[in-house]
Amino acid sequence: MESIFGLVGDGFAVVAADTSAVHSILVHKSNEDKIMVLDSHKLVAASGEPGDRVQFTEYIQKNVALYQFRNGIPLTTAAAANFTRGELATALRKNPYMVNILMAGFDKEAGASLYYIDYIATLHKVEKGAFGYGSYFALSLMDRHYHSGMSVEEAIDLVDKCIIEIRSRLVVAPPNFVIKIVDKDGARGYAWRESIRDAGVAAA
């Protein structure tokens, strides 16, 4: 089961997601990037039904880009989160998207922020959040070790603690994770934590 989690630090937000693409008992790939760079200063970590996950996050990404083209300025993180929630809520009673989202962003006025958006369109601004079976471990660890205004080193250390806990305590634990960060300099990948690497195809 997919795990994503994230937290807000001092002038930045970090999100981590597992990278297993699973179908029943088979792991298709173990380097699937589930954290989308929504625009220059926003990250969307998504978990849930694979088709919906890609379809919905790409839909949000293109609409956020369209707003910027039409209006000349980008959406704030709060606006993007509320737009996402609105799309989930509208589809909920017809054709629901089974996607849980953690949206992290940095705005000049509001600073770094993290939004918890679940598949039935619950929206809440949080300091730390997590989805999936891994959330049972990640949330407890973050409750214990998180404080506001953490530095990047402290935050990554906490993220690593959560990854180690998920790997060791979850029965069908995802082996690999990707970590991405967003701050005043933009949204970018930070690191991969791999304990199983896909073997390359042998040359013929």
């Binding site: 989930l88 909920l92 009673r93 369109a121 619950t122 809440h124």
Partner: protein, 166 residues
């Protein structure tokens, strides 16, 4: 677990003497898991009208929602007004208190026991001169204690409260 118990909530509104109080808990959960402890359930419509929403937080406004509103306001001549509804709009008007949420049964009991008519929000000047302790703001205290003792018996609501007194 039904959909109205998905997020967990506790809401109460009480009538006082030319005033009202509306209070909610602060927990936002996903069934057994607590997601946040600072969730605001009550919104201000204008300076004399508040609405609190219990039940599912994801529902869209305008279509059939599974939310149970608690409405509290001051009418003409500062006459307080409170009511609650079910998800299809059946109104329950009350002269004393209304409750909603997963803790509603506990809240009914606590409010019935603690409520008195014509509670005030200002401190009584007489008791201040005789005793070193001032009489607490009655309505605020009553609503707060009723809320806190009720949510302590409900695992889906709690983590503090927000109280508005007008």
């Amino acid at each position: 677990m039904s959909i109205t118990e998905y997020n967990g909530s506790a809401l109460v509104a009480m009538v006082g003497k030319n005033c009202f109080a509306i209070a909610s808990d602060r927990r936002l959960g996903v069934q057994l898991q607590t997601v946040a402890t600072d969730f605001k359930r009550i919104s201000q419509v204008h300076d004399r009208l508040f609405i609190g929403l219990s039940g599912i937080r994801g529902s869209c406004f305008g279509t059939s929602c599974t939310s149970f509103p608690v409405i509290a306001g001051l009418g003409d001549e500062d006459k307080p007004f409170i009511c609650t509804m079910d998800s299809i709009g059946a109104k329950e008007l009350a002269k004393d208190f209304v409750v909603a949420g997963t803790a509603s049964e506990s809240l009914y009991g606590a409010c019935e026991a603690m409520f008195k008519p014509d509670m005030v929000t200002e401190r009584s000047p007489i008791s201040c001169t005789l005793l070193s302790l001032c009489e607490p703001e009655e309505l605020f205290e009553t609503v707060s204690q009723a809320l806190l003792s009720s949510v302590d018996r409900d695992c889906l609501s709690g983590w503090g409260g927000h109280v508005f007194v007008v």
